[in-house]
Symmetry: C2
Subunit: 205 residues, 2 copies
């Protein structure tokens, strides 16, 4: 739980960490919060509700987390790592850039569907942390993972020569934005339409 | 000053508007805040500093604004309208889609350079308002303005046929994201490189 990334907005009173930390305890709070965010979203969530769902005391919550925002940052870090693992697996499959990116896009849209409310909150209200805005940090990690694939595709002539960092930032930013737009306009667009649009507009060389 | 868009996070005590509102007063607070944001950014800014720069009392501030965040929302609305006017002027110039979009991109990059710190705060920490996240609201307005141009270009064969709303959202989101990335990496990219990248990757049909 002593992740190096934490919100800059800290409580005025310093948190007193537990004398004998039990890793199972923050795990239970994180899982309870993830389930509640899925059901009712983040904004209306109370720490009392998280503690109740976890079957633990509010006082115990504050031994492990500074605030609800602190817990949310830890959740975003954890879910970002899970998503990165799944995306890197897709990037590493055989095939052309277009085929591998199409598989990664599938993974990404699965992820945003599974985590709809948490994803939209993360995207819309980035939290200021000691490593900068949380959403910018996450986009930079995804762009880093994607960059070798882009360089390879440029070498193989599957993508036009261009700055690989800017290209990676563009692919990630567009995918994130359009995925969020889709979640907010599900009445208008099917998942297939979104996949088709992104595949057609982003991966053509 | 009675804009219909305001932050959802309101103070517990209701603001008591002035009996005889003076439009010059909020104007002075807004201009003072804009100048201070340009100099030192938004986050560290105190209402006391805004009042001092405006030559007015803190109590007067609270007659016209609920909070610092409320003033920031009003500033974003005002600056978004100014930017929209400049962008629509660029869209309305003669020429191909590519030429008109290149002029609009110039206008946009001028704007983000002029308003660097305010732009980055707006982009990174969207504020929840009665019309949803402020940044989403602004992107939707820009996409609406851009949509007729995209439809025209698709009719004239200057852009491949595709969903015009998704295409407009993509162009705006990429431009906003890459403009912010540029401001954060000025040591690595010149304005010319950014313009070249965006022109090359976005406007090719």
């Amino acid at each position: 739980m002593d992740s190096v990334i934490r919100p800059l907005r800290r409580p005025s009173r310093a948190r007193r960490p537990p004398r004998t930390p039990n890793p199972e305890v923050p795990r239970r709070f994180l899982d309870a919060a993830a389930a509640l965010i899925r059901e009712q979203g983040y904004q209306s969530l109370l720490i009392e509700e998280i503690a109740e769902r976890a079957g633990l005391a509010v006082g115990t919550f504050y031994l492990y987390f500074d605030s609800k925002e602190d817990l949310f940052v830890q959740l975003v870090l954890e879910y970002t790592e899970r998503l990165r693992t799944r995306l890197r697996d897709a990037y590493a499959t055989p095939g052309t850039l277009r085929e591998r990116l199409a598989r990664a896009l599938d993974v990404y849209l699965d992820f945003v569907e599974e985590n709809e409310r948490g994803f939209l909150y993360y995207r819309d209200f980035s939290i200021e942390t000691n490593v900068g805005p949380l959403a910018t940090w996450a986009i930079d990690r995804h762009a880093e993972d994607l960059r070798p694939l882009i360089e390879e595709a440029m070498q193989r002539g599957e993508l036009p020569q261009n700055d690989p960092d800017l290209t990676a930032q563009t692919l990630i930013a567009v995918t994130q934005h359009i995925a969020g737009f889709w979640l907010e306009h599900r009445d208008k667009y099917s998942r297939e339409q979104i996949e088709w649009f992104l595949t057609r507009s982003l991966f053509t060389s």
